[in-house]
C-alpha cells in the first residue's frame, strides 16, 4: 500500500505543480491584456492595440496548456484518491462544481469570442469579453482555493455517514484560510504575469528593438508588478498570522523549531536541520522577526514541534505527525526570498523609470530578464510549503493522506499514468519554451507567416495549385 500512496502523491505533486506553472501566468496576463486593451479603447492609440495583440500570443499559448492540464486535476481526485473523494465530495466537490459553472464556462466562452471576435463585435463589447475572461480566471482561483482551504482548515462541515458533509456554506466560504490564501495567490499570479511582461520588455530594450512599444509595456507591467509585490508581502504576513493559530505545526516546521521558541521569537534565515535527532543547529537568526511575522508585534513565542506533536498524539492517538521538516523549512525560505527580490526589483525599476534612466541601465534590465523566473519559483515553493506542511494529513486533523487513495487502483496503473502524464507534460513544457522564444524573437512587427502550401478550394474545386 505504501507504494501506491507514494506514487499517487508523486503524481499529484507533479501534475499540480506543472499545472500551476501556467495558471498564474494566465491570470496575470489576462489582467494585463485587459488593461492594455482598455487603454486602446480609451486613448484610441494604435500602439496599445499592437501591445494587446502581441502579448496575447503568449497568453493564448499559455492558456491552452493551462486548460488541458487542468482537466487532469479534476479527474485525478476520483482516479487516484477515491477514498478521499468519498469522504469529502459533499463539501470539497461542491466548490469545484461551482467553479465550473461560474468560472470555466465564463472564461472559455468569452475567450473564444475574444479570439475570433476582433472584427465581429463593437470595440467596447469586445473589450468586455477580455475583462470577463480575466474575471473568470480570478473567480476560478477563488473556488479552487475554497476547496483547498477546506483541506487546510476544515470549516462548515459535520462528520456523519462516515464523511465530512457540508452544513454551513457561510462557514465554508468565510474560512479564514481562504481569505488569506486567495489574495496571496492572486497577487502572486498578477506578479507572475507582470514580471513576464517586464522581463521580455527588458530584453527588447537591451536589444533596442521597438523601444517605445516596450517602454510602454514595461511601465504598465512594472506598476502592476510593484503593487502585486506589496500585495504578496502583506498577504504573506496574514498567512503567517493565520498559520500560528490554525496550523501551528506547519509554522513550527517552517521554522524547524523543535522546542518552543523564546519570547520574543527570532526568524531563522538559515540553519542545519537534523530530523533524526530532532534538533536544529547553526541558526542564523533575525531577532524579533518571527514574533512580528506571526503576531504583528515584537513579542510572543511560537510553539515547537515536540509539544505540538504530543498534543496531536493525545488527540488522535499514537502515530507520526511531523510534516517533512526540511522541505517545509526550505520551501518557505525560497518563497520569501523570491517574493522579497521581486519587491526590490519592482521598487528599483519604478525608481529608475521615474528618473528616466531605465533604458540606459542595461545591468538592471538584465536582472529583470532573470526576474521572469522568480514568480514561478515562488509560486511552486509556496504550494510545496503549503501542501507538504499539512502532511501527514490530507484534510487537516480529519483524514490522513495515506487513507485517501483508491484501494482498487494498483501501483502499476498509477505508474503507467504517471509516466504517460509526465512524458506529455515534458513535451508540452519544451514546446511552450520553444514557442515563447520564437515569438519573442519575432517581435511585435512581423505579421504571422502564411502557410507555405495552401490551396484555395473555393476557386479550383479542391484539387490543387499551390499559392503562397
Amino acid at each position: 500500500m505504501m507504494e501506491e500512496v507514494l506514487l499517487a502523491r508523486i503524481q499529484f505533486a507533479s501534475t499540480t505543480l506543472f499545472h500551476f506553472i501556467f495558471v498564474p501566468l494566465s491570470i496575470g496576463l489576462a489582467l494585463i491584456i485587459a488593461i492594455m486593451q482598455t487603454m486602446y479603447v480609451v486613448k484610441k492609440d494604435e500602439i496599445y492595440l499592437k501591445m494587446t495583440k502581441f502579448w496575447s500570443v503568449f497568453f493564448l499559448i499559455n492558456f491552452a496548456i493551462g486548460v488541458v492540464t487542468g482537466i487532469i486535476q479534476e479527474f485525478q481526485f476520483g482516479m487516484n484518491w477515491s477514498a478521499y473523494s468519498r469522504f469529502v465530495g459533499d463539501i470539497f466537490g461542491a466548490p469545484l462544481a461551482v467553479e465550473a459553472l461560474l468560472a470555466f464556462f465564463l472564461e472559455s466562452t468569452f475567450i473564444g469570442i475574444w479570439i475570433f471576435g476582433w472584427n465581429k463585435l463593437p470595440k467596447k463589447l469586445h473589450l468586455a469579453c477580455i475583462w470577463l475572461v480575466s474575471i473568470g480566471t480570478v473567480m476560478s482561483a477563488f473556488w479552487i482555493l475554497a476547496a483547498n482551504s477546506f483541506m487546510q482548515n476544515p470549516t462548515g462541515y459535520v462528520l456523519q455517514n462516515g464523511r465530512a458533509e457540508m452544513n454551513d456554506v457561510v462557514a465554508l466560504l468565510t474560512n479564514e484560510k481562504l481569505w488569506v490564501a486567495f489574495p496571496h495567490t492572486i497577487f502572486g499570479s498578477f506578479a507572475t504575469g507582470a514580471f513576464f511582461v517586464v522581463g521580455v520588455s527588458a530584453w527588447y530594450l537591451i536589444k533596442k528593438r521597438n523601444v517605445d512599444f516596450f517602454k510602454k509595456s514595461l511601465a504598465i507591467s512594472l506598476v502592476i508588478g510593484m503593487l502585486s509585490g506589496l500585495g504578496i508581502a502583506f498577504t504573506g504576513h496574514s498567512q503567517a498570522q493565520y498559520l500560528m493559530h490554525a496550523q501551528p505545526m506547519k509554522m513550527a516546521a517552517a521554522e524547524a523549531l523543535w522546542e518552543d521558541s523564546g519570547d520574543p521569537a527570532a526568524w531563522t534565515l538559515l540553519a542545519k536541520i537534523d530530523v533524526e535527532n530532532r534538533e536544529t543547529t547553526k541558526r542564523i537568526d533575525i531577532p524579533y522577526m518571527l514574533s512580528y511575522l506571526t503576531y504583528s508585534e515584537f513579542k510572543g513565542k511560537v510553539q515547537g514541534m515536540n509539544a505540538l506533536e504530543q498534543q496531536m498524539i493525545d488527540k488522535h492517538g499514537e502515530g507520526e505527525y511531523l510534516p517533512p521538516v526540511k522541505t517545509t523549512f526550505w520551501s518557505f525560505r525560497i518563497m520569501v526570498v523570491t517574493g522579497g527580490t521581486l519587491l526590490g526589483l519592482g521598487a528599483l525599476g519604478l525608481f529608475l523609470m521615474f528618473r528616466k534612466k531605465i533604458v540606459e541601465s542595461v545591468w538592471f534590465l538584465r536582472l529583470l530578464i532573470v526576474g521572469i523566473f522568480l514568480p514561478f519559483i515562488g509560486n511552486s515553493f509556496g504550494w510545496i510549503m503549503s501542501e507538504m506542511g499539512r502532511q501527514p494529513w490530507v484534510v487537516n486533523g480529519l483524514m490522513k493522506t495515506a487513507d485517501g487513495i483508491s484501494p482498487n487502483v494498483s501501483a502499476g496503473q498509477i505508474l503507467f499514468s504517471l509516466i504517460s502524464f509526465s512524458t506529455i507534460y515534458t513535451i508540452l513544457g519544451i514546446i511552450m519554451v520553444i514557442l515563447f522564444v520564437k515569438f519573442i524573437q519575432r517581435g511585435p512587427d512581423e505579421q504571422p507567416e502564411e502557410d507555405v502550401s495552401a490551396t484555395d478550394p473555393f476557386e479550383t474545386g479542391g484539387a490543387g495549385h499551390a499559392i503562397k
Binding site: 488541458v68 481526485f77 466537490g93 482498487n408 502557410d451 479542391g462
Partner: protein
C-alpha cells in the same frame, strides 16, 4: 422529487449538452482527416469550431464536477474503476486541446502534420471511450460491497461496448459533417453533405445494432422498456427522416436530427440506470442507488440554488456566442485564427 433525483437529471442534462455540442466538435476533428483535402480546408474546418470547442468541453468538466459534488460515491467508484480508459481519455483531450492552438504556430510541415494527427486522434478516441463508458455502465461492472470496482479488460471491451463506442464515433462524425455543412460554403460544404449521405447507412446500421445489443446485453429494455422502446423508436424515426432531409439538402433540419438522436441515446443511458448510478455485475445487492451515492441534502440544496441561477445565464451567453459566429466561413485567410 428528492434533490438527489434532481441532480441525477441535472448530470444527465450536462452529459446531454456535452454530447450534443462536443459531438460535432469531435466530428469536425475527424473531418480534418477524412474530409479536408489540403491545408486551407483543414484550417477552415477547424475554424468552424474555433470559437466554441473550448466552452463545449466545459460541459464535460462541469458534469465531472457535479458528479463529484452531488454523488461522491459515483464519482469515486467510476473514476477509479475506469482508471486506464480515463488515462487514455485525458491524454486524448490534452493533445487535441493544445493542437488547435499550436498547429499554425510553426512553419514546418512535420510540425503541422503532428498536430493534425493530434486533432484527429483527440477527436476520435473520446467519443469511442464515452460510448464504451456509458454502455458498460448500463451493462454492469464488477463492483463489490464497498463500492469499489475491479474491472478487467473484457468488462470494458466486449461486443456491446465496442458497438456503443463505434456508434458514438459514427454519430459524432455525421453530426460534425452536418455542422461543417452549415458553417462553410462552396465545395467544402457540398462535399460535407455528400460524405454525410455516404456514412448515413453505416451509422444507421450501428445505431440499430446498438439498440439490439442493449436489449440482449443489458436489463435496460426489460426494466425500462415502457420508456426506452418508444424513445428508441423515436430515434429510428428521426434517423429515417434524416435520410430525406439529406436528400432534400435541408442542412439545418439534418443537423437537428443527428443532434436529437445523440440526445436520445445519451438520455437512454440515464433512464436505463435509474434508480441506480452504477450497476454491479457481481451482485445486484451491490448496485449503487442514487440515494446511496448522493451527498447530504444541505449540500445539494446549495448547489441546486447555484445551478438553477447559473445554468440559464450560461445558456444565454452560450447561445449569444453562436449568434456572434453565425456566419459561414468563406475560407478567406484573413479571418482564420487557427
Amino acid at each position: 422529487m428528492p434533490l438527489s433525483d434532481i441532480w441525477f437529471v441535472l448530470i444527465a442534462v450536462l452529459f446531454i449538452g456535452f454530447i450534443f455540442l462536443e459531438g460535432f466538435d469531435f466530428g469536425v476533428g475527424m473531418s480534418t482527416k477524412f474530409l479536408a483535402r489540403n491545408d486551407l480546408e483543414k484550417r477552415v474546418v477547424m475554424n468552424t469550431i474555433g470559437p466554441v470547442w473550448d466552452a463545449n468541453e466545459v460541459w464535460l468538466i462541469t458534469a465531472g464536477g457535479a458528479m463529484f459534488a452531488a454523488f461522491p460515491h459515483w464519482y469515486a467508484t467510476a473514476f477509479s474503476g475506469f482508471y486506464l480508459p480515463f488515462v487514455v481519455l485525458l491524454l486524448a483531450f490534452i493533445i487535441r486541446g493544445v493542437a488547435f492552438e499550436f498547429r499554425n504556430k510553426v512553419d514546418s510541415k512535420a510540425w503541422v502534420k503532428t498536430w493534425d494527427w493530434a486533432v484527429f486522434i483527440g477527436s476520435i478516441l473520446p467519443p469511442f471511450l464515452f460510448g464504451v463508458f456509458f454502455t458498460s455502465l448500463i451493462r454492469g461492472l464488477p463492483i463489490d460491497g464497498d463500492m469499489n470496482m475491479y474491472a478487467g479488460f473484457t468488462d470494458f471491451v466486449n461486443v456491446y461496448t465496442v458497438i456503443g463506442g463505434v456508434t458514438f464515433v459514427l454519430l459524432s462524425y455525421l453530426h460534425g459533417l452536418l455542422f461543417i455543412g452549415l458553417k462553410t460554403v462552396g465545395d467544402l460544404r457540398e462535399r460535407a453533405n455528400t460524405v454525410a449521405r455516404k456514412v448515413y447507412a453505416l451509422t444507421g446500421l450501428f445505431l440499430v445494432l446498438f439498440m439490439i445489443f442493449t436489449y440482449l446485453d443489458t436489463d435496460a429494455i426489460t426494466d425500462h422498456g415502457a420508456i426506452l422502446i418508444p424513445l428508441y423508436s423515436l430515434a429510428i424515426v428521426l434517423y429515417g427522416l434524416l435520410f430525406f432531409f439529406l436528400k432534400m439538402k435541408r442542412e439545418g433540419l439534418s443537423f437537428t436530427m443527428t443532434g436529437l438522436v445523440l440526445i436520445i441515446i445519451m438520455a437512454s443511458f440515464f433512464i436505463a440506470l435509474f434508480p441506480n448510478v452504477m450497476i454491479s455485475s457481481t451482485d445486484p445487492a451491490f448496485n449503487m442507488s442514487i440515494a446511496d451515492a448522493a451527498s447530504g441534502d444541505y449540500s445539494l440544496k446549495i448547489m441546486t440554488f447555484v445551478a438553477f441561477t447559473m445554468v440559464p445565464i450560461v445558456l444565454a451567453y452560450t447561445i449569444w456566442s453562436y449568434y456572434v459566429f453565425r456566419k459561414r466561413l468563406t475560407g478567406d485567410k484573413e479571418h482564420l485564427e487557427y
